[in-house]
Amino acid sequence: AQTVTQSQPEMSVQEAETVTLSCTYDTSENNYYLFWYKQPPSRQMILVIRQEAYKQQNATENRFSVNFQKAAKSFSLKISDSQLGDTAMYFCAFMKHTSGSRLTFGEGTQLTVNP
């Protein structure tokens, strides 16, 4: 069974600064996906970024980037130039590299961006 751990229940950052959210996971799989989802107060689950384990290059999406360390089973999310709209709960999630597999989520990190 897979587990995902987010050790920071809450974090805060000043607008325009950079913040890093941590995620570690445990699995015996060699090929898998990792995701970060964002859940703002509207409750909508929004995909932020996706990483395939066989790709060594870290994924980036505009201001969002990851630091994927496969051997350490670590998958952190870096948000650059933080904006007020980034305030949300962020979930790290794991999925086997098999179509139709379930997502295993961490418990989330509540990020607050302060003006």
Partner: protein, 118 residues
């Protein structure tokens, strides 16, 4: 926007009553999922579907059933609702291949349904 709607968006019901939640998608995605979200647990899979009439259980399936008679609709039924089923329910879709704006095997979520069982 993955073209996913959920209905109702909010529902309050009483213990012992049947409840059906509907997930509707407009883009013929093959896989559909039902998750529940509870404080301290993130999201957990209830059931999923890999095609019309093809469904399987997730990690928290007790007390729930599902049906998928059409590609676009995936129904979640609580046969006799209990207070422990008070939760926020999310539907998701995915495709096993790259399809337009949708990444392979990536799950995209609907807006959620808040269910309260009194």
């Amino acid at each position: 926007d993955a073209g996913i709607t959920q209905s109702p968006r909010h529902k309050v019901t009483e213990t012992g009553t049947p409840v059906t939640l509907r997930c509707h998608q407009t883009e013929n995605h093959r896989y559909m999922y039902w998750y529940r979200q509870d404080p301290g647990h993130g999201l957990r899979l209830i059931h999923y579907s890999y095609g019309v009439k093809d469904t399987d259980k997730g990690e928290v399936s007790d007390g729930y059933s599902v049906s998928r008679s059409k590609t676009e609709d995936f129904l979640l039924t609580l046969e006799s609702a209990t207070s422990s089923q008070t939760s926020v329910y999310f539907c998701a879709i995915s495709e096993p291949r790259l399809a337009g704006q949708y990444s392979t095997d990536t799950q995209y979520f609907g807006p959620g349904t808040r269910l309260t069982v009194l």
